[in-house]
């Protein structure tokens, strides 16, 4: 990871980029860590009416601090509802969840994710990871999937060892052909180097915005598949003073996510 210029670190930059994608008045299903910090930051800045859901059943908590588990009591602290996993997932399935945030051990050019195993024999994995959890469901059912991950060539691979969670599968039209709901799919990938999107026609990943001090070559060297720039490649606006202040003092004062 190259040194990040300016007075902020890579995690702060990723959380800030993620938070800017969340519009006011929308709904988002989050997990712990960066996604939760991004949602909390958005709520405290431009999206006070962003409704946050946790897959285990927590709805619209007034998060005083970061949860440790997607099902711990902070996920419904002063919330609007403490419900069930089916209720939250079915809210997504009905078409009411605008965003979700995911990660994974591997991601491919179409935004498919692997969080199940490394190896080529399913019954005897070389490394066993937790599995889908709610990731497959959320990526299948929410309108826009946002991925937050560290950028390195072992994560960004041409071929996944296991497709845990659907991106655009093997290209244009594949989601619809598989029966996934139209209009859904991966939207942005936020890394410590860049913000990536997906080409409208090829559905392959492309670079939308380079973080300060990062070149397109840096991104390409850290990506295990061929990747180009979008027609209108821009530079990422660094975190502003207000964003950093709220993030450090209010959202994550103990530095669980941002590491300060």
């Amino acid at each position: 990871m190259p040194d990040t210029p300016g007075d902020y670190n890579a995690m702060e930059l990723m959380v800030t980029c993620a938070s800017r994608l969340l519009e006011d008045g929308r709904t988002v299903a989050v997990g712990t860590g960066v996604p939760c910090a991004a949602a909390m930051l958005a709520q405290r800045l431009d999206a006070p009416n962003l409704t946050v859901f946790f897959e285990a059943g927590g709805v619209a908590p007034q998060l005083p601090t970061m949860p440790i588990s997607v099902g711990d009591s902070r996920t419904f602290y002063r919330g609007l509802m403490a419900t069930s996993m089916c209720d939250v997932m079915e809210t997504c399935q009905r078409g009411m969840m605008d965003y979700t945030f995911l990660g994974g051990a591997q991601i491919d050019p179409y935004g498919n994710l692997n969080s199940t195993m490394i190896g080529d024999d399913y019954a005897h994995p070389r490394v066993r990871f937790p599995g889908s959890g709610g990731a497959n469901d959320l990526a299948s059912l929410c309108w826009r999937t946002l991925v937050v991950t560290v950028h390195d060539p072992r994560r960004f691979v041409e071929q996944l060892d296991f497709v845990t969670t659907p991106g655009y599968l093997d290209g244009p039209g594949a989601r619809e052909a598989a029966g996934l709901m139209p209009g859904t799919g991966p939207y942005r990938v936020i890394t410590d180097l860049a913000i990536l999107g997906f080409h409208d026609e090829t559905r392959r990943m492309e670079v939308l915005s380079l973080h300060p001090g990062v070149t397109l070559e840096d991104v390409q060297q850290n990506t295990g598949f061929e990747i180009g720039a979008a027609n209108e490649l821009t530079g990422t606006e660094p975190p502003g003073e207000r964003e950093l202040q709220v993030l450090r003092e209010d959202v994550d004062p103990h530095g669980y996510v941002i590491g300060r």
Partner: protein
């Protein structure tokens, strides 16, 4: 209805609603006192070869005392519903590769091995990578939906999830076409566990239960289970239940045993009671890295322990209890972290 695609995973339990109805026809409806010790509940209600489901969310509102007792009684050849199973799965994995036979044999897996933000359980990974456990992959929602189908008494339910992925290909789900709209859906089979264990806040002696906070999948798990052990923070009277039936989450006729276990979810979180003991959970994760120390840790915290209160004391939970309660209620701003 046409089947368009078959997952290749093995179906570990029978989804038949006819078979389930035959079982539930025989299940007692008697409103009798079901209070018993954890030891008695496990020895009378869990058999070798059974399929087990655990309530809560891995490290939140989990029946720790019953899980420890299952490990102590060394039940063998169990199936397991890995539906965001984190610390609960980590406990059960103590029954494999530790010289006591093989407790875990089959896992329906949506999320195991990890403990969310805390990292991975080395022991759970050893068990899942050993080749001695057969597994079938699912997602969290489809596992919850499998319990819902069973609770409804139907053999399957459809969902717009898992389609097009290896998760679907390695599950035991099937892809179907909707007879009304032609939409393609995944059909997931009902899951009737032989035994489910759910930790709740309050129960009366007959098993009428109250749960505070999120229910995760437990209302369905409790109704889907052929046999059900309830552990509760507190026993309350039947009068108390009748004073506000709106709050009853699980009714007595689903329940076979009621065990009063204060701090029963420790070291997990219990909403409105105590927060998770991250110090002790970290000890579990760390000690699993050390194959010499791990058996001694299990002896000290499970095998040489007579009951849950002794475990909580040995783990340091009693000393930290005030702090865990403060963390849960977030009484003062300076205590919100750590």
């Amino acid at each position: 209805m046409d089947t368009l695609e078959h997952g290749s995973g093995r179906l570990f339990t029978d989804p038949s609603s006819i078979a389930a109805r035959a079982h539930f026809q025989q299940k007692s409806r008697a409103m009798t006192d079901k209070v018993m010790s954890v030891t008695e509940a496990v020895s009378t209600l869990l058999c070798d070869g059974d399929y087990l489901a655990i309530g809560g969310f891995g490290g939140d509102r989990i029946p720790t005392a019953v899980l420890h007792e299952i490990v102590r009684q060394n039940c063998q050849d169990l199936g397991f519903a890995g539906h965001t199973s984190t610390h609960d799965f980590q406990i059960i994995c103590a029954g494999n590769l530790t010289g006591r036979g093989q407790m875990l044999a089959r896992v329906d897996n949506a999320y195991v091995v990890g403990l969310e933000a805390r990292g991975m359980s080395r022991q759970a990974r050893r068990v899942m990578e050993s080749g001695e456990v057969e597994f079938t992959d699912w997602s969290n929602y489809t596992m919850a939906l499998r319990f819902r189908a069973a609770a409804m008494g139907v053999p399957f339910l459809p969902a717009h999830s898992m389609l097009g992925t290896d998760t679907m290909r390695h599950s035991a789900a099937r892809k179907i076409e909707c007879p009304f709209t032609g939409e393609q859906l995944v059909a997931v089979p009902a899951l009737y566990p032989d035994l489910a264990v759910v930790h709740v806040h309050e129960s009366d002696p007959f098993g009428n239960c109250r749960i505070e906070g999120i229910s995760v999948a437990d209302l369905d798990v409790a109704r889907a289970a052929k046999r059900l052990i309830i552990s509760c923070e507190r026993l309350i009277t039947n009068d108390e239940i009748r004073s506000n039936p709106t709050r009853t989450a699980i009714p007595y006729y689903c329940v076979d045993a009621v065990c009063e276990v204060p701090l029963g979810s420790y070291p997990g979180n219990m909403p409105y009671e105590y927060y998770s003991d991250e110090v002790h959970i970290r000890q579990w994760l760390d000690v699993e890295e050390d194959l010499d120390e791990y058996p001694r840790f299990l002896d000290h915290h499970i095998f040489e322990v007579s009951d849950h209160q002794e475990y909580v004391r040995r783990a340091g939970g009693l000393d930290r209890l005030e702090e865990l309660r403060r963390l849960e209620f977030m009484d003062s701003p300076q205590d919100q972290g750590s």
